[in-house]
């Protein structure tokens, strides 16, 4: 009997100790390109480590972390108290939050759209449905077509809490499954407006945003985000269940190193330092 118990305990401990060489990463669609680049480069340097990256949205990644089906969760928003509570009940841990990069949430419009700047208040009014025509913000006399993300997206939550002041999105918003799809939709729609990570802004114009009517307008570029001038700036997070150890710790340390942070710039986001 003692031998059986000892064998079971050995199996239990050994399976948990050697599980770290394959690292699974799941979550934010905003971060998926960045996470893939990190993984590709790191695996080239460390062929003994396998890193599997998938998207699905921050909410999906956090659920996977709570379920124990991912080692690392990418999230473009902080975890909510209710999510932390679930993690605590399942694993008796608080989770560890790691800031990996900065991002300016860009506002995209079609290349034909003459509007170049907006105030935060105007952005809020547009997305809550109070402003419905481009001429109200200095554009053409045409209806504003709103593109948004789905509610499992961290960008959706961040934008709602920080730009809309937690007010509801206009019911006319068309929710797109990912940032790439949203950019594509705006690129085709002369009256469209969308938002997302600045790394995706290809084939469309980015709006310069003012904190208020009297302040200067800033584009979401590296300097403005780094200096905190661009008003819609956020951190991109990684969450892990417990303090990372072994291969996972080495990987996260590398992401936070100069080498990992160079990848952040190359992909189009902004390094921490």
């Amino acid at each position: 009997m003692k031998k059986i118990i000892a064998t079971l305990l050995l199996m239990t401990f050994s399976s948990s100790m050697f599980a770290a060489d394959v690292i699974t990463v799941k979550g934010s669609d905003t971060m998926v390109i960045l996470a893939q680049r990190w993984a590709e480069l790191y695996m080239k340097k460390n062929p003994n480590v396998t890193i599997q990256v998938t998207g699905g949205g921050s909410g999906t990644g956090i659920s996977a972390l709570i379920n124990g089906t991912t080692d690392i969760c990418n999230a473009s928003r902080p975890m909510k108290p209710a999510e932390k509570q679930k993690l605590k009940l399942r694993f008796s841990t608080l989770g560890v939050e790691i800031k990996t990069a900065k991002d300016g949430i860009a506002l995209y419009v079609n290349e034909k759209n003459p509007v170049k700047t907006l105030t935060l208040a105007q952005v809020k009014d547009i997305y809550t449905g109070k402003i419905t025509n481009w001429k109200e913000v200095g554009g053409n006399d045409s209806r504003i077509i709103l593109y948004s993300r789905e509610n499992n997206s961290g960008t959706y939550v961040y934008f709602k809490e920080n730009v809309l002041d937690d007010e509801d999105y206009s019911p006319s918003c068309q929710n797109m499954p990912g940032t790439a799809a949203l950019v594509n939709a705006v690129a085709k729609d002369a009256n469209g407006i969308g938002y997302g990570g600045s790394a995706y802004a290809k084939g469309i114009n980015e709006i310069a945003v003012k904190s208020d009517a009297s302040s200067e307008a800033f584009l979401p570029n590296a300097q403005n985000v780094k200096e905190g001038k661009y008003p819609i700036t956020r951190f991109l997070f990684m969450y892990v269940k417990s303090k990372p150890t072994g291969a996972m710790k080495e990987y996260i340390d590398w992401i936070l190193s100069d080498e990992g942070q160079i990848v952040v710039s190359k992909v189009g986001y902004f390094p921490l330092r």
Binding site: S15, S16, N67, P81, Q85, L94, N151, E161, S242, T245
Partner: protein, 468 residues
Amino acid sequence: MKSFLASSIMVVLLSVSLYSQEEYIDTVKIPVQDQLDQLKSNDESVNEILLDMKSYIDLARKLKFSGYMQTQYQVSDGIGNGAYPIGAFAGGAFPTSVGSRFQVRRGRLKVQYENDLTFSQYVLQFDVTQNGLGIKDAYINIKDPWVKSWNFKTGVFDRPFGFEVAYSSNMRETPERSRLAQTLFPGERELGAQIEFAPELGDWTNYNLKLGVFNGVLPNSNENDNRKDIIGRVGAILPFDELNFAVDGGISIYQGTVRNTSKFAYTFNELQKQFTVDSTATNAGKNYERQYIGVDGQIIYDIPSLGGISIRGEYITGTQPGTSSSNSFYNPATIQALDIPGGKTKSQIEATSLYQRKFYGFYVSLLQNIGTKHQLLLRYDVLDPNTKVSGSEIGTAGKATTIADLKYSTFGVGYLFHLDDNVKFTFYYEFVSNETVNSAATNAALVPFKSDVKDNVFTFRTQYRFPF
């Protein structure tokens, strides 16, 4: 002449060739244009279909189905008998002559509709087992649309008392709740209305409050008096992220009454160590207190390289109105059926009379995670349904003490294996110990308890849940 002929033939051939090429280009151009028009038309059709589908997708996002099933095999060191129950708090008493069994302990299906715009929620949860179909939850939840920190809930839902009552069975590590929780809150749920303060943002996120008004009967019973019971809990969470450590806890109250259907009201006289009866005629219909106060707490610590450990406990004390043979709460809806007008036998009087007992109970559990798949568990729980009497004082002739006054303690040890995010296996053994009564006891129900009865239970449970 030859050169003229040759030139003429060349011109004719070239003309024919050019004409043929132009004709070819025209024949190619037209289909390509057609195809582009066709593609454009197809694109518009696809867009229309997608827009139509979007309404269904939006509905599917709002309408959520989830559920779990728990099947189990149990074996006891005793055999089910008429003298004392085995496994009554481990999924239901074993039938007579039965020492092992298979069960579908829970088969839950939850249907939830959430409207993001109005912050309202509709929830219906069914339970299907080998015994049939039952309704567990049926409630409406409305979140305040302004500060989004308050919830109003009404219908049938978990009573807001302590930690264990509202801790979902699919998350709970032990197969069943403690004897304490099952005795005080049978079915866990109640019919009523509740407000909850649970902010998601700001300085108050670590504090929460639930306060509700309930019928004070069972979840599947109708109200039987005009008084409502008040149940509430206030809680706080203190996280120390840098230390991988957190403490949380709360204080709960239950302020309620039950209606006596008989004129007999027994209270325990501590000096005489016996129940004394008040048989004033006006006792019939009078309300008697059902009052509990409880504290619950949890400490968690994340052990590096191993996994999180949690120590959780709950202590509840108060006054419980019961009957002669039961320390579960006095439920007029059940008792009334026994309340035969006119002359009653002694057993009928005992069965309908109200017995007030001071009680206390607690549980402490320790859970160690090992990696993400394994959990080891220890739990100790105690229920003393009558704190004024113990051991050999129970069963003394003429004192009216019964099996409802017996103190129980249960020590459980378990191992849980999470195969994936759907499947969980639980192996759990519980050592159940009862207080031993007076060796001279003659009450037939008490006689087996002159020693510790054989009622330990081993449970092997398989759980499947979808989605999380």
